[in-house]
């Protein structure tokens, strides 16, 4: 019974809207029966679509990379090490999502103009870290808490260096948090419009900046095609990242059971 209602809800609220979106992208505006390819052809006629997609991809990839590096190191420290001022640091690291992002951006913009980071992709990458890093730290912190410090000490006792422990134990066992961070931060980075516009100053054009002006358009076919294109990007990036994760040591075989992980 439970299973049936779950699938009904899932079908109604997930598959039906996506199905409608796909259908609309191949049909005339306002109609779901009259076939039309105008949405997709119109989309690819946009001058900056490919360029904006690539820019978004590169910026997103760097944002994800920095999030993993910062999130893992800060999350590990907060989860496993004892030091003075840990609680204060914990709160401070959460601050960026407690303060309005726009307020931070305006402040940071001035600083970026001074050091020459305004209107550059590097500046945009940095500002995208503000709404993402706090989440990554939280996710990795929880990951390291459930991993526990003992299993890392065990690897050390068997002769593993810090690097080997990271590669053989931490990365494979933190696979789930890494997957979450990859997907979450990429989507957040991709969706940033205002802060990208301010820091990028119109020079750095991401997909969101091309996409947002369309939202008010009456051409639902074009909007549907654009939305699908927009959604494809994080999905493809996720699959790419997933491929990379599979290259890690001890990932050859699918684990027979994923829960009951730690002993």
């Amino acid at each position: 019974m439970k299973k049936i209602s779950f699938w009904t809800i899932f079908l109604c609220f997930v598959f039906v809207p996506i199905g409608l979106l796909i259908l609309q992208s191949f049909t005339a505006p306002g109609s779901l029966t009259e076939p039309s390819m105008n949405g997709w052809t119109g989309l690819f006629e946009r001058r900056r679509l490919v360029e904006a997609t690539l820019t978004s991809l590169v910026i997103g990839a760097f944002v994800v990379l920095f999030n993993i590096v910062i999130g893992m190191s800060a999350g590990k420290a907060l989860a496993l090490y004892r030091f003075q001022g840990k609680d204060i640091l914990d709160t401070l690291l959460l601050m960026p999502i407690l303060l309005p992002l726009l307020a931070i951006t305006f402040g940071v913009h001035i600083a970026m103009i001074r050091i020459g980071l305004a209107d550059t992709a590097a500046g945009v990458i940095l500002i995208h870290l503000v709404p993402t890093v706090p989440y990554s730290i939280k996710i990795f912190r929880n990951g390291y808490v459930s991993l526990g410090g003992k299993i890392l000490e065990q690897a050390e006792m068997l002769g593993a260096s810090a690097g080997r422990t990271f590669l053989d134990i931490e990365l494979p066992l933190l696979r789930a948090p890494i997957q979450s961070v990859v997907f979450l931060t990429f989507v957040i980075s991709l969706s940033q419009y205002v802060i990208t516009a301010i820091i990028g100053g119109g020079t750095v054009v991401t997909l969101a900046m091309v996409y947002f002006p369309f939202l008010e358009s009456a051409n639902t076919t074009l909007v549907a095609a654009f939305s699908l294109w927009f959604a494809l990007l994080p999905l493809s990036f996720y699959l790419f990242a997933e491929g990379l994760i599979r290259l890690l040591p001890y990932q050859r075989r699918r684990r027979r059971r994923t829960h009951d992980l730690f002993y």
Binding site: K150, E156, M157, L158, A160, Y250, R255, R256, Y263
Partner: protein, 323 residues
Amino acid sequence: MTSFIDVRDAEKCFSSSEVFGDVSFHIEEGEIFSIVGPSGSGKTTLLRCLAGLETFSGGSVHIDGEPVTDVKANARPISLVFQQPLLFPHMTVLENISYGLKFKHIKKKERLARASVFLGKVGMEKYGASYPHELSGGQRQRIALARSLVLSPKLLLLDEPFSSLDKKLREEMREWVRTLLKQQGITAIFVTHDQEEAVMMGDVIGVFKGGTFAQIGTPHSVYEHPATPDVAHFFGDNWVIDEDRYVPRRHLYLLKEKRDNLQQWPGVVSGKRLLHGIAFSQVDLDGKRTMIYDSTGFEEGAEVFVTMDPANIRTFQEKKSIG
């Protein structure tokens, strides 16, 4: 002549408080040293310092003549088996056992061959391709032991490795592990809070209390000749008369009425016990409950006098170390 393992004046302080201090002992090759003490006495910290997971605040450690105090944990010829098996869940049993050999620059084929030998030694040949979650608690701890033993460490540290197992399994494991360690000629330090386990596992016992060794000796000598009232209390089979004197409990007996020429204490029988077919009375004495051999067969609630032959009263010896 120096010993195989030589620890001198080791101490550990956290900020202002001392966890342990004035810790010195030595172990001969192939010997098992049991460290027994109540929880919170600092014995696990001592083990972690020996393993290199934490640093000593002072003192020195030599293994086979080499100083290791400043050697990093992953480069010490020491292996540690924790309370939990801590097997790597994403590796098979065989990969778990062979993991440490990777860092000894041994080829993969040879690594797996050596791991298989140890899998056989712990009696789990069939489980090489299994994952840790498919094993029982006792099996996991065996694999953890094999994973440490395969590295042929000069010193094996065991930190209450049976504490997560149930009583019956624990008893089986004790015997099995001791036999295995002896067969392999492994020098080991075994930490426990259970005096029975310490006696069974160790060739030498160190009673650790308040951050230092109260006594080090053979199980027999520590049991029969406790050095301090603390040790006598901890081993529980002695009746401490005062700061200087004690009587092994087996020499105590019960009287119905007071006698003039004997030292005796009034008590009340609060329960009866049968151990291995012999009757004991549980007597409340000076607010402490103690089990005393009862040949008369006193009823529960009976008022009795506890006494002993003065010839059996012993005095505590100075804290001493064998060697």
